[in-house]
């Protein structure tokens, strides 16, 4: 397993959000689904060291990670595309992409090659290479955020609600790109747009009230009555 999370507990102040979540990611693409407030982003934040876990373990490539500082998690090989993108708006696309690799041991030595791959995957970024990121549209910024994460040559790419705030045509484009990526990189994606994301994942977990209520393959989730009624709106 690339990532192995066991009995993870976390919250904010006195509010418990995660109640003993266990999940794993191998060389595959895994989805985390659930309604708003289910705890999806908190799982990501705990893995990335943004939120300190109350209990449980997080193991990445055999190393215990719980409570580790965010920059060390990134350097270990986990790249995050956050919900809010968290880009550097006053810097160019070129600088944003460069910073994605510059401080990560896995990315720095192969920065030029990674840049080629990213620009091939998102040709629009080549056109806007010198443009300030803050002046770009939400969809283009999302591509910069994914490109920046890929620059790190991560062992695990985490995407938190990649379709949030995007128009449907861009959402489809983002998931098409993710489907291409899953051949080479392990992916963990949280998403409310279950229909689109089922195209890009191999396996998924349904999280409700801070606990895993369902785990299945993408094909299994697509026909599961609970998923169909609660998330696919059929």
């Amino acid at each position: 397993m690339i990532l192995d999370v066991k009995k993870l507990e976390a919250g904010y102040g006195k509010l418990r959000v995660l109640d003993g979540i266990s999940l794993s990611v191998g060389k595959e693409s895994v989805g985390l689904f659930g309604p708003n407030g289910a705890g999806k982003t908190t799982i990501i934040n705990a893995i990335m060291g943004i939120v300190k876990p109350w209990g449980g373990t997080i193991e990445f490539e055999g190393t215990r990670m719980e409570g580790m500082a965010t920059h060390l998690v990134a350097r270990a090989g986990i790249a995050l595309v956050p919900q809010e993108r968290e880009l550097f708006p006053g810097m160019s696309v070129a600088d944003n992409l460069e910073l994605g690799a510059a401080w990560v041991p896995r990315g720095k030595p192969i920065m030029a090659r990674q840049l080629e791959t990213v620009l091939e995957l998102f040709p629009i970024l080549k056109e806007r290479y010198r443009q300030y990121v803050g002046t770009m549209s939400g969809g283009q910024q999302r591509m910069v955020a994914i490109g920046r994460a890929l620059m790190a040559n991560p062992a695990l790419l985490i995407l938190d609600e990649p379709s949030l705030g995007l128009q449907p045509s861009i959402v489809a484009e983002v998931f098409d790109r993710l489907a291409l990526l899953k051949k080479d990189i392990s992916i963990l994606v949280t998403e409310q747009n279950v229909r689109e994301s089922l195209r890009a994942i191999d396996r998924g977990y349904v999280i409700e009230n801070g606990a895993v209520v369902l785990e299945d393959t993408a094909a299994g989730l697509a026909v599961n009555p609970h998923v169909v009624s609660a998330y696919l709106g059929i």
Binding site: H71, E86, D95, L99, A102, W103
Partner: protein
């Protein structure tokens, strides 16, 4: 496009105003630019800290005062010229700045801004009163021959040494621009200033970067402390007015806008020199920065309301 046109109009107006002032009262232009150089060289490190660490360092001028005292005693004990003390002063102040950052400022970064202001204000008082207790309030000065060099053009005679600060300010601004846009560490600092969480996500050690930037800023102000000895006498309260003026320049320029600090310094320097050129207004020259900062804030408020 509209912004470029507006900037071009402002620059053109500035040049016209400078030519008029130069013809009408040339001393205003000369002394104004000399003051502008000094103000900019002192304000730029404060702008760096505010732009990246996002803290208003009210002990900024006091760091310069402490460095000036250390340089003064080193120079008088060894007979060294203050110019030779610039680099050692910068290095020692950087270490001192890093220590102050680690022991105090770092712990207040996530606190409300008022707490940060109180902390740095406390540091300012501690530094100035500490120096006062140790060395008294007596003014100290190093006499140097080369600083009295003057130039005569027609009937006008003026000292040339203060122009050194104009070059120092320019070099500081250009050097920082190169550092922040061309080096990996500089780009990381810029990234941390724009989005600390985003920076941590890409593997940048935010806390270390804050410490590095604070140490760099105190190194620059420490070097300025040694250089300041060539121009003025020093005393424990010498840094306070520079903190206030630096803050007003940084606020006028806008957070993180280092070229803007140069422009604001020229405006302040010329305004002060203009006030001093008229006998009845001389006493008001030292508080003109209050008027300028109020005018800038008012202008921004009106602009913000319109947009």
């Amino acid at each position: 496009m509209a912004i470029k046109r507006r900037t071009a109009i402002l620059v053109a107006l500035g040049i016209v105003a400078a030519v008029v002032v130069a013809l009408w009262k040339p001393t205003v232009l000369i002394y104004g630019m000399q003051s502008a150089g000094l103000y900019a060289a002192i304000a730029i490190p404060m702008g760096l800290v505010l732009g990246i660490v996002h803290i208003v360092n009210l002990a900024h001028g006091e760091f310069m005062m402490v460095a000036a005292y250390a340089s003064y005693f080193a120079c008088t004990a060894s007979g060294m010229d203050p110019l030779l003390a610039v680099l050692p002063a910068a290095a020692v102040t950087a270490g001192f700045g890093l220590l102050v950052y680690k022991l105090t400022i770092r712990r207040a970064l996530k606190s409300p801004e008022l707490n940060q202001l109180i902390l740095t204000f406390g540091l300012a008082i501690t530094f100035s009163q500490g120096v006062n207790l140790l060395f008294s309030s007596q003014t100290r000065k190093i006499s140097l021959e080369y600083v009295s060099a003057s130039l005569t053009i027609g009937e006008l005679s003026f000292g040339v040494w203060p122009f050194v600060f104009v070059f120092v300010a320019g070099a500081m601004a250009y050097g920082l621009k190169l550092f922040l846009t061309r080096t990996t560490t500089g780009k990381a600092a810029l990234a941390v200033g724009q989005n600390p969480r985003g920076a941590a996500i890409v593997g940048i050690d935010v806390d270390r970067t804050y410490g590095l930037v604070f140490a760099l800023a105190t190194a620059l102000i420490g070097g300025m402390g040694a250089l300041f000895l060539t121009r003025s006498a020093i005393f424990p309260g010498v840094g306070g007015p520079f903190t206030m003026k630096s803050f007003s320049l940084v606020a006028m320029a806008g957070i993180g806008n280092i070229p803007g600090i140069l422009g604001a310094s020229v405006l302040l320097g010329l305004s002060e020199a203009l006030m001093r050129a008229f006998r009845g207004l001389r006493g008001w020259a030292d508080i003109i920065f209050f008027v300028l900062i109020m005018a800038v804030i008012l202008g921004r408020s009106i602009k913000g309301r319109k947009s």
